[in-house]
Subunit: 130 residues, 2 copies
């Protein structure tokens, strides 16, 4: 699988997330996916995404930087959104916030098998504590 | 410049950091480098690194994941270290800490011209607040 294939798969995964097509998630995410060292599995991964999009109904995954190398993708995601419910442990203010997430994904058999995500919680904390 | 060249340059940059060869930094970092949107320049970049290594004398930059695509590098850096002075605004406890940094670098003319860094400050906060 070359870099172009992996990027294509990843872009389709982003579209799946942005359209809330949770029933399709298993096309992109392996049954035994591990997220930040936790063996979430696709069901746990879906639950996490559903919780996030419940808390932040206008959450859109927009790559600001995106590179692939073989079976690995790295993406800087830039979020502009307005949380409506508790999000990552922070209470909403009704005001929009912006933050980034830097994520590494490892693919196996054309699906995401491992995710290492870092979210700028410090930025969220500052914006939701004002 | 292919991915292998960029990775080689990046590995040499890591070695430069780990050996505190600040006088060589300009070989790897452009005069007008921008860090997280701030136009630090190589002097400001060096000052940042010198401050970090003063605060954390055993700071070593170890790539846990590393990929390149053309002129862009993405790296997950895993740190295990013991801060001795105020580090990123947190006071040291004398105990070792571990945290990660996810960084994207854009190269231009074989030097780093742009850096987007995200450090897991939440992890540092938790470990240094105990």
């Amino acid at each position: 699988m070359d870099d172009g294939d992996t990027l294509g798969l990843y872009r389709n995964y982003m579209t799946c997330l942005n359209e809330w097509r949770w029933e399709d998630l298993g096309r992109f995410v392996a049954d035994d996916v591990v997220h930040n060292g936790r063996p979430l599995g696709v069901a746990g991964y879906r639950a996490m995404l559903e919780a996030d999009t419940h808390a932040v109904p206008d959450l859109q995954f927009i790559p600001a930087m995106l590179i692939a190398d073989g079976q690995t993708v790295a993406c800087r995601l830039a979020f502009e959104c307005t949380p409506q419910h508790t999000f990552l442990g922070f209470e909403p203010t009704g005001e929009p916030i912006s933050f980034v997430e830097h994520v590494f994904y490892r693919f196996e058999n054309r699906r995401i098998i491992e995710v290492w995500s870092l979210i700028d919680r410090e930025a969220i904390r500052k914006q939701l504590s004002q």
